[in-house]
């Protein structure tokens, strides 16, 4: 009894292959930052993690389309069990839980950061564009992350928006502004851009 079928091999194009590899690796790196990238800060219960930096750089380096695709992979991988969410957690319970709104916002935030920084879906050399563009993109990303994150936190925990903002957003904002500047330094210095720009 044979159970075989035949079909033509439908090869993936070179450009797309590279983009899929980059999107997957940036998603994995964002997940790796969630655990290993945390740097304890004295006198603060909230460790400093570099996850949001992954969101910024996915948008800035891969552009709005592949940046959003990368963050979508991050979410789906976490939903089916990769330990990529804060502290190495996973599962749709995290997405449906109190901090899930921040996670859901990542693809949108990455797309916004990439779109504003590059002025469209075509990739440009971020070393030469005025720094105000990537800054505007990342600011939009932060606003999106906190808007969706606070809304879900308030809804899921059944607390008021003010309480949600106090507990789950305000303590993190200075750190995220700081990460914005790290991201800006990274793309201006050019040590990363050479990986993604056409030679």
């Amino acid at each position: 009894m044979s159970d075989t079928t035949t079909s033509d091999v439908d090869l993936v194009g070179d450009e797309t292959t590279l983009n899929i590899a980059r999107a997957a690796l940036l998603a994995a790196l964002t997940g790796a930052f969630a655990i290993v990238g945390s740097i304890p800060i004295p006198f603060s219960p909230v460790p400093f993690t570099l996850q949001v930096l992954g969101v910024f750089l996915a948008g800035l380096l891969l552009g709005p389309v592949w940046g959003a695709a990368s963050m979508l992979l991050y979410l789906v991988a976490g939903a089916v069990g990769a330990p990529v969410f804060a502290g190495g957690s996973a599962g749709i319970g995290v997405l449906a839980g109190q901090t899930g709104g921040y996670l859901f916002s990542y693809p949108v935030a990455a797309a916004a950061a990439g779109y504003l920084a590059h002025g469209g879906s075509e990739l440009t050399d971020l070393r030469v564009v005025p720094p105000i563009r990537p800054l505007a993109g990342m600011t939009a990303a932060i606003v999106i992350i906190y808007a969706l994150g606070t809304a879900q936190f308030a809804f899921v925990n059944d607390v008021g928006l003010v309480e949600a903002l106090t507990l789950a957003s305000l303590p993190f904002i200075p750190g995220d502004v700081f990460k914005m500047f790290i991201a800006l330094v990274l793309i201006r210095s050019g040590s990363l851009n050479e990986h993604v720009l056409p030679k």
Binding site: D8, V9, D10, L11, V12, T17, L18, I20, A21, R22, A24, L25, L26, A27, A28, L29, G31, A32, F33, G37, I39, I41, F48, L50, L53, L72, L73, Y74, V76, A77, V80, G81, A82, P83, G87, S89, A90, G91, I92, G93, V94, A96, G97, Q98, V156, N157, D158, V159, G160, E163, L167, A168, F178, I182, V185, L186, S191, L192, H195, V196
Partner: protein
């Protein structure tokens, strides 16, 4: 890192990933509709049954979710606090406390899925559920994330070790974060380039062969449970 698939032969391990996913989703919906003391008692009992069927220990799961504790406890405490006497209003703190407990139950159920479902099966389920190239992109991408996560974690740990060995730990948080990020991204991009080349060399295709998935008779109880939970949630919401 510890919340991951463990091979086994529990009831949960033998189910199709799609029926387990259906149970999870319907459980979340039901938990949101029945966030009452009695509703949560029933859902706690159900969570116990599901975790037993998946051979997942609640103690181990709690240990893995400990980082969430400040938030779970913080929400009711903060909502109960008020400016002026009596300083703490118990009635205000009850709904957030129920909500926090509900979150814990949902996390337990999803831990049971993660413990009993191998990645290959999840990938196949994604590719069969989401149609077309988009589904294949998700399937391939998720598998790659699983493959590269430990490597990138090791990369980052190695970078931090190297930093510490050179007294980098004494630099400011800003410097440490910047150096970790630059080195981390550089290594990730270099790995991506090599991976893309390797994929092309191996005829990376949109239509590879996947492990077979079969929804069988043993999935019936799980699917019935999912339908029951959804119906109960619908009834409670209307």
């Amino acid at each position: 890192m510890t919340l991951a698939y463990r091979p086994g032969d529990s009831v949960g391990h033998r189910l199709d990933p799609r029926s387990k996913f259906a149970v999870q989703v319907s459980f979340v919906v039901a938990a949101f509709v029945y966030t009452t003391p009695w509703g949560l008692v029933w859902l706690t009992a159900l969570t116990g049954v599901l975790m037993a069927a998946a051979d997942t220990s609640p103690v181990v799961t709690v240990r893995e979710l400990r980082y969430l504790v400040p938030f779970l406890v913080g929400a009711p405490v903060l909502q109960g606090l008020t400016l002026g006497t009596p300083w703490f209003v118990v009635a205000d703190a009850v709904p957030p406390a129920l909500a926090s407990y509900r979150i814990l139950l949902v996390l337990f159920v999803s831990a049971a899925y993660v413990r009993t479902t191998p990645v290959r099966a999840s990938r196949a389920a994604i590719q069969r559920t989401v149609p077309g190239r988009f589904g294949r992109f998700l399937g391939v991408g998720v598998a790659l994330v699983f493959r590269f996560l430990p490597l990138l974690q090791r990369d980052l740990a190695r970078i931090r070790d190297a930093q510490r060995a050179r007294l980098g730990g004494q630099r400011s948080v800003r410097d440490r974060a910047r150096l970790l990020a630059v080195a981390g991204f550089n290594r990730a991009f270099r790995r991506a380039d090599r991976l893309a080349l390797a994929l092309q060399a191996r005829c990376f295709a949109w239509n590879p062969t996947l492990p077979p998935l079969r929804l069988g008779r043993r999935d019936l109880p799980a699917l019935a449970l999912a339908v029951g939970l959804s119906a109960a949630a619908l009834y409670g919401a209307v």
